[in-house]
Subunit: 356 residues, 2 copies
């Protein structure tokens, strides 16, 4: 498995197969861990960093350590060019910070992209399980299992009093962050999205854009995650998030879709129609704008107001129209209008073929 | 001839047959006249107004008085409902003021819509000759002839010192206003339209929107007219306007189109493409928005970047999608979203049929 193969596949999390796919794109569980015998990244010198990278990498590539029968391949960030690093960000396999970072660092990725472990990001290890739809418990079980397997080989920094020690205090304790990527176009259209944000804030949740911290909510995608991890068990965090918070947001989006359908069907179909019109006829498309219009098209598909297009196709369009993916797929570097023009052509070929 | 017939025809001025049709939609010459034995409208009582209306109407309906072999029919404003009055405004046969006015008043219209004489608007008579493309001299000759014919029956208020007397001092003298309706989408897209406006202002011209005084420039249509009429002969006014000013604006628009074609072909085709996309796929269209997108489509047609659609069809779409026309054509009163939805359907049927 290489990066080339990645580009042309939908990772498991984009397969459109998980529960609540109409609203929940993906579920993610992340564990932050540090190797006890090495200083935190901010204190590690170049040699320590390089040693650490080699040590963790070796352990990650040992088949038993990743478990669950997954085959894992490793991407060394120092040997990866900018477009491919960006590609991994677009696929949610590494963070923007990891792509932009320096020094010995990398990521282990399973072939189905459900598992990714960043090495030498903010912490020594950032393990991620990413699943399609609402599958937080399944993701947590896999992450927990991976953690156990790795602990047989690596000694993680742990305090009896605080739990797992991490570079940033917000992660101390379980080192756990759970998040879901939600598609909330109806709440955006009805204007009720602000209420959801306020409620989320009151519950100490973070609401972020498509690519995590510091990114904007484009294409009506929102990444909702827990904020505090200290003083609570993994089970508590997960139960509240999976069984209370996310179902509530899903309910709100479903209610908003119902309102649009019952009270504003013309306005709804107009939004969807215009999205189709622009995607089929534009000659220049920025990636943000493409997300915006694809979002309305996706709403049309899941609400069955548009036929002839399935969810996996739309899901992959979201990804394939992003800058690094587009350039990888077309096999050339493109900037400015040339890229926008190529994107419009790409979208036209995909959307235009269907009799929408 | 009745208003019903009007709705389904393109007046001569919309036939797309006149010179410089790519840019100049129509040329208009208007003469303001008052009958000497009656007070100006602001001073006339109800009885005088009614008498005057009957007198002028009778003379207008006498075949020889309108001349040029044109058949004329008369529309009594007091017997015309709001939608039909609006219809006449949309066809540029009466002013908004005349439609909204009160009391005895009307308009004589020739079957081909090239001639229209409002009775009891701001002045007793407002004669208009409206021709397709740049035909100001032809329009002037016809207006002059009409004026002569009417003077054989009606005694117009005239002063040796000032010339023809009118209700508003800006019209005193010749009572002449010449104007052209220009379609300047390229100047708008390049941003150079502001320069043209400043130049026009320096030359004491008025630049107005689609429906004259106090209306906004929508759909990139601009009505350019002379401002002063006192102290200059009709020939002087006409020569400057027809031979100097308008050709200069036409040149500027042509230059802007060249710039778009040579330097920004992608952006140009993107504009045109998006217009087609929205016109074909929107489910709700306001009249303003329709003008906006039709304007870009028209640019595409005249620049031959869109095939399969001719100028008369587009010209009539501009008119038929206006509120009164749309309701007349569909045979029912429509408000709000119902009207926008009907408009979108109407446009879709017209534009969608063509393989654009």
């Amino acid at each position: 498995m290489t990066l080339d193969n990645l580009t042309s596949q939908n990772g498991e999390w984009l397969s459109g197969s998980g529960p609540q796919q109409d609203i929940v794109i993906s579920s993610r569980v992340r564990l932050a861990r540090n190797v006890a015998s090495y200083p935190f990244m901010s204190k590690a010198n170049r040699l320590q960093r390089t040693e650490l990278h080699r040590l963790v990498r070796e352990n990650l590539l040992q088949a038993p350590s990743t478990g669950a029968g997954r085959t894992v391949f490793y991407v060394d960030m120092e040997k990866t060019d900018e477009i491919d690093r960006q590609l991994l960000v677009e696929r949610h396999l590494i963070s923007k910070q990891h792509a932009a970072g320096e020094g010995a660092r990398g990521v282990a990725i399973s072939n189905d992209e459900a598992l990714a472990v960043m090495v030498n990001e903010e912490d020594h290890l950032r393990m991620q399980i990413l699943r399609s739809g609402l599958q937080l418990r399944e993701a947590w079980q896999e992450a927990d299992k991976l953690d156990d397997l790795l602990q047989q080989h690596l000694d993680f920094a742990f305090s009896q009093r605080f739990g797992f020690l991490t570079a940033c205090p917000t992660n101390v304790g379980t080192g756990l962050r759970v998040s879901v990527m939600l598609h909330l176009p109806a709440l955006k259209l009805t204007g009720d999205i602000e209420k959801v944000f306020r409620a989320a804030k009151d519950m100490h949740l973070a609401v972020r854009g498509l690519y995590g911290e510091g990114t904007e909510a484009i294409g009506d995608f929102y990444q909702v995650s827990n904020q505090t991890t200290l003083g609570r068990s993994e089970e508590e965090i997960l139960a509240e998030f999976n069984d209370v918070i996310i179902p509530r947001i899903i309910q709100a989006e479903l209610a908003a879709r119902q309102i649009l359908e019952n009270e504003r069907p013309l306005a709804l179909d107009d939004r969807i129609g215009r999205a189709i019109g622009v995607l089929k006829y534009a000659r220049l498309l920025s990636s943000e704008e493409t997300l915006y219009f694809l979002s309305h098209l996706r709403l049309g598909v899941v609400m069955k107001r548009v036929t002839g297009l399935d969810l996996p196709t739309i899901n992959s369009l979201f990804l394939q129209t992003q800058p690094a993916h587009l350039q990888r797929l077309l096999g050339k570097q493109l900037e400015g209008d040339a890229r926008k023009s190529a994107r419009a052509e790409f979208v036209r070929n995909k959307v235009g073929k269907n009799n929408l």
